[in-house]
């Protein structure tokens, strides 16, 4: 994969930032489950939170390849940082930049790009997610307003968000995925509550919480795109979001591989470094091969999206393969380190827990297979 000069500089800068600022705190914020407010602020100043926002709205206007490179580099050091940036850019900024009105873009994108106000995406409910037909949150028109009622689950960045995109049923008579609309809801709106942060297996420094909406009045001007078209918008949003989850998983796998490689070269047993044993070399070889394939899939999806071509199937393949690769590689990395790998003294157990999210969030591996299967069959 050949990077152009801008992409190469952006990757190097993201790597420098991850090494200097993120890696040193990754262990502590995972242990304590603390959202890294200081580094998120810095990432805003450096432009990481405006990667997919066009320049005219205060963003970087980077291509998707550059965006994926940043998420990958951050995630080599810390999955939670990668997830915070990925969810904000792909699920918060991108749909507003793509489907929003001029007024919505002017209002919400500049503070989002500067990182003074994170954006988030509220789709999933107790009975709905990839199955949008189960959406129970409703929005009822009342003059110039919509009144929203319902609840959402697993919403990333919500305690730190200034606004969220919320999906709600606007046509109670419509069935399945029809009759759903998307709204930009400001978090300070009366009746809108971000509930207690979830206690999670991994991605512990990423902010995940349920939302409750009781008679939340949202101006009609905050309807995103056309009424009733919400399903189409979030399908497109997830197609792009999957690339960033692939980049996240890729970074985790690479981070774990680097630890395993360095450790096995230095750890001696039976009189020589364990990397000289074929059993260990074969593990490393399988890890490296899976990572190489994952990288090619991820950046092929980026290339298609940057070229304006159909990328939905490729982003699903990239997300499926890369997140499963991250599970495989982080598991093997722990195995290479043996007992040390199982302790929090080394980062591979954290990477293993973080990687698990990638097989679930933004559509499980099984949902990716449905997307890929439908494409393969021409359905």
């Amino acid at each position: 994969m050949q990077l152009n000069e801008n992409q190469s500089m952006i990757r190097q800068m993201a790597r420098d930032f991850a090494t200097a600022k993120v890696a040193p705190i990754a262990h502590a914020i995972d242990r304590d489950g603390t959202f890294p407010e200081a580094t998120v602020r810095e990432m805003g100043e450096l432009g990481f939170l405006g990667l997919v926002v066009p320049e005219e709205y205060g963003g970087v206007g980077a291509d998707i390849t550059s965006y994926a490179l940043v998420v990958e580099e951050l995630s080599r050091a810390c999955g939670s940082h990668g997830l915070t940036v990925a969810a904000h850019n792909s699920l918060g900024c991108w749909p507003i930049a793509t489907f929003g009105t001029e007024e919505q873009k002017r209002k919400y994108l500049p503070p989002a790009a500067a990182g003074t106000s994170l954006l988030s995406f509220g789709l999933t409910e107790a009975g709905a997610g990839s199955d949008a037909g189960g959406t129970r949150t409703t929005a009822v028109r009342d003059g110039d307003f919509w009144v929203l009622n319902g609840s959402k689950m697993w919403i990333t960045n919500s305690h730190y968000a200034g606004a969220l995109i919320i999906t709600a049923k606007t046509d109670p008579a419509a069935t399945g995925s029809r009759g759903i609309s998307a709204f930009i809801v400001e978090t300070g709106t009366p009746g809108f509550t971000v509930e207690k942060k979830e206690d999670k297996l991994g991605m512990r420094a990423s902010d995940t919480a349920p939302l409750t909406l009781v008679d939340v009045r949202v101006p009609h001007a905050n309807l995103l795109g056309k009424e009733g078209e919400g399903f189409k918008y979030f399908m497109k949003t997830l197609d792009g979001g999957r690339i960033s989850i692939a980049a996240l998983a890729l970074g985790l796998a690479e981070g774990a591989f680097a630890v395993a490689r360095d450790y096995t070269k230095q750890r001696e047993q039976f009189g020589k470094p364990i990397a000289e044993f074929q059993a260990v070399q074969f593990m490393l070889a399988d890890m490296a091969t899976q990572i190489a394939a994952a990288r090619l899939l991820t950046y092929e999806a980026c290339r298609l999206k940057d070229a304006g071509q159909d990328y939905a199937h490729m982003s699903a393949m990239a997300k499926l393969h890369t997140s499963e690769t991250a599970m495989f590689v982080t598991d093997r990395a722990i195995q290479c380190l043996g007992g040390y790998g199982y302790t929090t003294e080394y980062p591979v157990e954290r990477m293993y827990r973080d990687a698990k999210l990638c097989t679930i969030g933004e559509g499980t591996s099984e949902i990716q297979r449905l997307v890929i299967g439908r494409h393969a069959l021409g359905l």
């Binding site: 801008n6 500089m9 800068m13």
Partner: protein, 258 residues
């Protein structure tokens, strides 16, 4: 205020050097190249001066065209206004004196109030070029600075000396070499990286500068790998005092170092 920052691209400090046996040349394929970390202090200091009092910063380097990326990311995107790359096959194998000569030729093309260098480059650790340039230009120089205050036509610099610091006043123009501790270099922001390509970057030859680099006075004849590390020996004893006695005996009788 016109500031020149002379920088060098060097292999990343984490680069693994493949050198099995002594050789006249290093195999540099696969090296990741970065801005010399000490030069980053010089760039940052120049940008802070510009932010405080205005001015223009020119980054100057000697090297192949592949230094473009480093100059763009670590100089132009951070706040330098333009860059000059001196790229000439005549400079293959050039020593510090020759590099200083061509830098002087480039620096004489303009009137700089301040010329900043890193204290040394981490690849050859030579640390001579900045001071050679000052001597050849007949300018005062202060080396190893860790703090800088500018007055009207003067400067006050703090420099590290053994066991303390020295505070030096000096008239402008002057040449300074920058040490760790002077500042904390910033990272370039992504928008500035994207815009760095719009800033002028000039590639010049020795002929363009009207200089003929002198023949090298110094020749690198051989690189040798460091000796293999000896095996580690654990000194034990019934208690700490016994272990210490045994350690002292080993150091005296076997290692013969005390």
């Amino acid at each position: 205020m016109k500031i020149a920052v002379c920088v060098k691209q060097v292999p990343d400090s984490e680069t693994r050097i493949n050198l099995a046996a002594p050789a006249a040349k290093l195999d540099q394929t696969g090296f990741t190249r970065v801005l010399n970390p000490y030069d980053a202090y010089a760039v940052e200091e120049a940008v802070r001066i510009k932010e405080a009092r205005g001015g223009e910063i020119t980054a100057i380097t000697v090297g192949p065209e592949t230094v473009r990326e480093t100059l763009k990311k670590d100089c132009l995107a951070v706040g330098c206004d333009k860059a000059i790359i001196i790229n000439d096959p005549l400079l293959a194998g050039a020593d510090d004196a020759a590099i200083a000569d061509v830098l002087c030729a480039a620096l004489k093309k303009d009137n700089y109030d301040l010329i900043l260098f890193g204290i040394k480059a981490i690849d050859d650790d030579s640390g001579q070029v900045g001071i050679l340039v000052a001597e050849k230009l007949g300018l005062p120089h202060v080396s190893t600075i860790t703090k800088l205050e500018l007055g009207e036509g003067t400067l006050t610099a703090h420099r590290e000396i053994e066991g303390g610091k020295e505070i030096v006043d000096c008239p402008l123009p002057a040449v300074l070499t920058c040490q760790k501790g002077l500042n904390e270099p910033r990272l370039p922001s992504l928008p500035n990286i994207m815009k760095a390509g719009m800033k002028p970057m000039q590639i010049v030859t020795c002929a363009d500068l009207g200089v003929t680099p002198p023949a090298a006075l110094v020749e690198i004849r051989q690189y040798s790998p460091p000796p293999a590390r000896g095996t580690c020996r654990l000194v034990t004893g019934d208690d700490a005092a016994a272990a210490a006695r045994e350690l002292a005996r080993v150091l005296n009788e076997e290692a013969k170092v005390i």
